[in-house]
Symmetry: D2
Subunit: 324 residues, 4 copies
């Protein structure tokens, strides 16, 4: 047990993600197991400014591993973006006896953690976001659940698409990143998947492929589009206008953010939460926990925030070859 650290705070920040509760549970239980006290900060960094801080014991995190959302709530906090807000938050930690903070969230949350560290409160970040847009980590908590939710919904759409010989254009989450769209597109056998990272030409990449596969007997079509790549309704209208095929748009929306986490999200969250406490126990701070090649690793927060992640466009080639 690190001699300096007696009490660990934990919070969730930014958009919620399924598996955050499993991460909270692992942080709380592993910390208590190693002899620390634990406090939960509610509603993100906001809770530090408003004093919304609760003691956590072993039973505080019972019966949550399978629940979506976050029992600690989450919120944006404008005040915390100012130096004054950060100083106030650090002071609140000291007054609450919180020696270090585990922050579960995305890049914005980690920038906050870095700010807290600058104010004397060492932090550990855990990547929790459905978007998988954290550069240092192959995989973020909530990503697998969000994709499986999208797949289940599109499987239902498939039934009606097929019964009516239609084209379904489905908009999935991903304003800046095509991770969800790309994998979901492969998993549902989408004819074409459109992502923000790869420019596309509707005629060349969608219409002509539809016409080509029609010749092999294909009569219904699923097109997956990341929200950052285009608007489903626009694309559906275009397709219908140019092909005559009855085309419908569906926006899967916030349903993708919720639901009971998958095994993968629960296990990753548990491992990451445990790893965070191990780092603290070794006196190592200001790291972001991450997965690399299915192992749990960690990076300096500043380094993590400066990293850049590219999407594996080889998956597009595979998708192109087998969705015909």
């Amino acid at each position: 047990m690190s001699s300096e650290i007696k009490t660990i705070g934990v919070l969730t920040s930014g958009g919620d993600a399924p598996g955050m509760n499993a991460a909270i549970r692992a942080v709380v239980r592993a910390a208590l197991f190693k002899g620390y006290k634990v406090k939960g900060v509610r509603h993100g960094y906001n809770g530090l400014l408003t004093g919304d801080i609760v003691d956590m014991n072993l039973r505080s995190v019972s019966e949550i591993i399978h629940r979506g959302g976050t029992i600690l709530y989450t919120a944006r906090c404008l005040e915390f973006k100012t130096l004054e807000g950060q100083q106030k938050a650090a002071q609140a930690c000291r007054e609450a006896g919180i020696d270090t903070l585990v922050v579960i969230g995305g890049d914005g949350s980690f920038r906050g953690a870095k700010d807290m560290a600058a104010q004397g409160i060492p932090c550990i970040g855990i990547p929790g976001t459905i978007d998988n847009d954290i550069a240092c980590s192959d995989y973020t908590i909530g990503y697998d659940t969000a994709m499986n939710t999208a797949v289940e919904m599109i499987d239902k759409l498939r039934d009606t698409t097929q019964s009516h010989d239609r084209c379904s254009v489905v908009e999935v989450m991903g304003r800046n990143a095509g991770y969800i769209a790309l994998n979901t597109g492969i998993a549902v056998g989408a004819l074409v998947t459109l992502i923000p990272e790869v420019p596309f030409d509707l005629d060349r990449d969608v219409i002509s492929k539809m016409k080509e596969t029609q010749k092999t007997g294909k009569k219904h079509f699923i097109i997956v589009v990341a929200e950052g790549a285009g608007k489903a309704s626009d694309i559906a209208n275009e397709i219908q206008a140019r092909t005559g095929i009855d085309s419908r748009a569906t926006v899967l929306g916030h349903v993708q953010r919720g639901g009971s986490p998958t095994l993968r999200d629960r296990v990753t969250a548990s491992r990451m939460g445990y790893h965070a406490i191990e780092l603290i126990n070794k006196g190592i701070f200001n790291r972001v926990v991450a997965t690399r090649a299915e192992s749990i690793v960690d990076y300096d927060i500043s380094v993590a925030l400066s990293m850049y992640k590219t999407i594996d466009t080889a998956l597009l080639d595979i998708s192109h070859a087998i969705s015909i």
Copy 2:
């Protein structure tokens, strides 16, 4: 076995609904069991005009009871709305040796069945539509599945709504009828449910109730709205403007039309399909099969089409009392 009838045709028409396959299976199997021949007409009445008719045997309907959509496909058919089209369709039946037709669909499909009967092809209708808007039947095939799908999606939305102390405004299917919305609203504990049958005042019925329950500690809200009662995005914007509560709209859309049917839809479809063949076997024609008080009954098609169904607003009172 009815002496006049040797071959039974079966088709699905209008919007598809989960459980239609279970109905097809029951029609085909029960007919073969009683010694009839069965032909499947594909793509609704259209299949009669295009000759898209296939022989059905016991194995043609294997492994479909659990599948959404319809293996016989469905479509609208403009040509069939003309007298000439109807005469042509009846002639096609005679040429294919189809002596009677079982039509699975909604009111529009039953009007078609009545038209076929006028051209000498006796028909039986089976109510298959997720909207439950068939007056003679308490319950239509697909309705239970559609509502359970809506409930599952809103349960996921609930997680993120709660984590962020938000208001979720969810638009469910129901252009003219509030059945799905009303039951779904009760099942998800919606604060308010808006349906086309009951006019509402946003301030009085929604905003003031939100403010009242806030006083009891409630911080997140689910509002269910039938598509015929209003646009989710408009309502969400209004709520946010007047309460300051972060409000998001979600349109569940066509996902509600698909998916593996629930037990209730499978059992009802099986019973209805069997009943249709029993009617034919007794020489009774031009009836719509229906459920009344959990029994399977039937009505003359013309009578069925002239009936009127009201929504049980007592459910709104219950919903109002327990969603606080």
Copy 3:
């Protein structure tokens, strides 16, 4: 509001069932809505004897409508079966200020309610049991969920049964009643369904039907058996010995008791809970709430306990005709 009654107690007793939480929620909210106080008694009648009684407010039942199990816990209570135990329980009600008790459970729980009434504590019963074995009610809370859970599991079994050309013998809940088995059997397309109410001969009813359908090309088989009708492993062994078809037994077990309730269970539970409070509000006591032909009705407890329910064997005929 009934002048005599100020505080309503609510408890769940016997085996738990999905939807019990929705019923608790409706009882608590409707009671508070009408101006009563509400106390929750935990662990069934046991909680009266041990003083495990908690105040319930509007927020005590937030976020439970979608959860399986019962937040009030349930238990058997041997002591309560004695007159002395009943007197003690009634005295505990008086001391806790509980004027009337809403009991959610099965026949055993209603017998307890009758005993409480005899000791001066008027009661209302709500049928909550997955087995649907309450004579006065067409339908009990939890029954629809249990059947849908069984159907989902058997749908998964179907995949592997089909891939291997096997026979799956699946044992579902129902020690004394075949309701779950009968409906589940129709919904999964079971070749044969065995229930305790109808004696069967393995050779005549199962083996010979398997052989007959094999001739039509059928190669895999699902047999559903209620636990009260036979042991899945014995039946699977017999089938394999007599047909040579690789046969496997699966016991679905307690998984059927849990899970998020279906829409039907949530809506029925909400309506029943509301009805219970309406009865109390009208000064009507010692009734069991029930469904009849999709309406909510009520019966005198003693009458309800003396009623007898038969299973609709017409469903067996339908099942026989369409599962070939």
Copy 4:
């Protein structure tokens, strides 16, 4: 395109696994995309001996990516284990014009592939088994789905376990390997997970931990046991005898083998199937496709069969620390 190879055969062998259909689809589509002909061999190696071989076109694998089981069926084949059987199978390939064979299955299937190669039919293996017991691959097709199915079922069990303050002992698949049990145990928050790789003492590892956590207020317990580590019913009986806690055994059984594959299984299967054809296209044969650190790689079949895989017992430490 490899000059020697014109026609590719594909088969599934051994126990079926969710995702096998996605792999078949990828093999067929990628092969056709690159200009090969494809034939499907049904019922495993058996299909070679019985001539159960069908031509596959683009549409033969439509609408299967989301389905459990295998459209090519699978079977054991005793005759194929003899040299004579292998010679006959190779001869059947030559007669059917199959130049190379893609075999989707487990180690037993790969030994068969090696035997075929010895008879002059080059092969590629793709790991498809829910057990994850293929040494060369981090991950096998079907494993993720099987674990998520187990998790969903145990989540339902949790409801009833909690309502009754019980202990549930759940037996999951894994005769020789604890992979499913270990990850499932973490994901459901099992108090203890018993696997064949790690000997256990019931008193020390289970009973004493139960008693210890009871002191912190824990009242219900989930114990996960791999089928190779012990019998759930025996363990439940022992626990109940020694602790007095009502304990129930559940065997999840073959349900774990079926169901619609998860996103991960569909994507991995698609990538592996595509990779298999890429190898063939490069003239590389007798390899097993595998995942290593989330990449798709391949190994010589003989090398793959000689590899050994150990379970990551670090997960047990994590599980021990956070399940209290």
